[in-house]
Symmetry: C2
Subunit: 344 residues, 2 copies
């Protein structure tokens, strides 16, 4: 990813949501990333205490206590940028910065089709001017998250999605600059679209997350193969109640359920890819049980351990307090997922 976007002269700022580990963020930076993306002030604090010096919280911080923590973090010698998409939000940022004796760098989030946060593009100039007029706030860029799943199955084209996302934002940046707003950073991208969005003139930064571990969703996008998937769940067969059914010791508290099977545009079968038996389907789960439909002649025995690539690695990692990192030596190192489960 670092190489692909550097070829375009674009900066890589991976989203730490996938790993939630300062050591992985440090490895991404060593490989060429300029900094890291986070979603919460608590996550940014964990990254900063792990030595990361350039952090973008690509999220609206609204609560006074969170903004004061952000202002204090920005005074600790690191570059901290936070997201904003409303005048009310900008006022809160400005007030917290004033209270704490800081100046906060912000990026304006724009809405590019996902219908979640982000100001409408046709209101960006007006809002940017209002934000720029506030004290102790420095508007330096714009950002969006659009992903690759807009438009449903018939348009699952990650190249086109990346180009569209890049064009929308490059155009928005041009309009803002024409209105006298100094926009340096134009930040876009997801794991499937980042390399394509980076090809668009005017895009300066991409923020993919999943690519560090990859997962079954990314394989369905064509972003990777199953062999590229570094993150997996190892589960034990605990019961084989019938020829066509195998039960593993992992269910909805082990495999994330946010990417449901059978839904457009990916139409994934079940909740994970069974590496040793790709036709087997992890079709039902309770909290601690996974029900795998297998061929009647499939050889599974109680006690067998199988490797499963989850549909969505980010939300799956988020379920676990610990992961095992496999060292080059082959040794497994148990590691606490430092920035997971944060309230703030």
């Amino acid at each position: 990813m670092a190489e692909a976007v550097q070829r375009c002269g674009v900066k890589l700022r991976p989203h730490a949501k996938t790993h939630k580990l300062p050591e992985m963020a440090a490895r991404q930076i060593a490989a060429g990333a300029i900094g890291i993306t986070a979603a919460k002030i608590s996550e940014a604090e964990v990254m900063a205490s792990g030595g990361i010096r350039d952090i973008f919280i690509a999220y609206q911080l609204i609560a006074k206590s969170k903004l004061e923590r952000a202002a204090r973090l920005s005074l600790s010698g690191i570059r901290l940028i936070i997201g904003v998409d409303s005048l009310e939000g900008a006022k809160r940022i400005s007030e917290a910065a004033e209270r704490e004796g800081a100046e906060l760098e912000v990026r304006l989030e724009l809405e590019t089709g996902l219908r979640r946060t982000g100001a409408a593009i046709d209101k960006a100039v007006q809002l940017a001017k209002q934000i720029s007029g506030l004290n102790k706030i420095k508007l330096s860029g714009i950002f969006t998250y659009r992903g690759a799943m807009l438009g449903g199955a018939s348009t699952l084209d990650v190249r086109a999605a990346g180009h569209e996302e890049g064009r929308l934002m490059a155009d928005a940046a041009a309009a803002l600059r024409s209105a006298g707003i100094a926009i340096q950073d134009v930040s876009v991208g997801s794991s499937p679209t980042a390399a394509f969005a980076a090809e668009v003139e005017g895009v300066t930064e991409v923020r993919p997350g999943t690519y560090i571990y990859q997962d079954r969703m990314q394989a369905a996008f064509g972003t990777c193969t199953f062999d590229n998937c570094a993150g997996a769940v190892f589960a034990t067969i605990i019961s084989r109640p019938s020829d066509d059914l195998v039960i593993i010791d992992g269910g909805s508290k082990t495999f994330a359920t946010d990417i449901q099977p059978d839904n457009a545009p990916l139409f994934l079968k079940g909740f994970g890819h069974i590496v040793c038996d790709p036709d087997a389907v992890l079709e039902r789960m309770n909290e601690e049980h996974g029900m795998i439909r297998v061929k009647p002649d499939a050889v599974y025995q109680v006690g067998d351990v199988i490797r499963i690539i989850p549909n969505h690695i980010c939300s799956t990692v988020n379920l676990h307090s610990f992961v095992y990192i496999k060292e080059s030596s082959g040794k497994l190192r148990k590691t606490a997922v430092a920035a997971r489960g944060m309230l703030e």
Copy 2:
């Protein structure tokens, strides 16, 4: 719950999966429960170190390391029972007990319709005899989990489901006793069915979990009202991009997605009940964003905090490293969810 089942002369052994906190387990025991249920050896260890003296791991322990930990825990002066549903599993239990110089008490899990773990009822006598013939293993009871969702919407009758579950297991216990197997404990029940299953002659114990906090699913079952729901997520409005859309700072890493909207038999609308605005629908989520469809004239402002009762409290608590417990004084006490996110 304690009162309801005690009236039937039945023991209550709540499942700790909902709270994952020894202090809540202790309160359940103080209110009349005889012990606690867990799903993992690591959870049982947390409960034991929190002072709980009678623990049933209602789950197949298969890995050697887990079974050895179970054997050692059983030697620490507490009553520990573990689940078994196969001869292979029973042999592993027996071997671990022998290695550790322990004797392990087990209950045979029976399959009563959910198609997950559990031996077929018509094979119970044969399997129970085989298990009883092994060394250092003491078969003292049978158990099942059936829940209330079998049969789909047209048969959503928690009373009938509870009675059916109780009858299936009471009959199975009678058949085992006729064959000379000394079955003391007949353990059944979920939060919606427990009080009804307890009415069935021959049932000796119920294992509901969710009832301690309650949730939207239980309200849909008719087990509680929204006023009875003790567990809630407090979320902040971070954006209002359009009149009919409000964005909160909680998504699929905050609200569990294992109970999906619109599915039979409950047909829940969205991922949670918005207490201040019951017609609003938390209809989409990304990892950190919740998209709530509201009436265009609904008064929501950036910074407002709203209370949301999740569809499924157990898996929602499991997403969070901390909960806030509200004391009688009204004070909030931040508490680590001690037994969550365990690997083993």
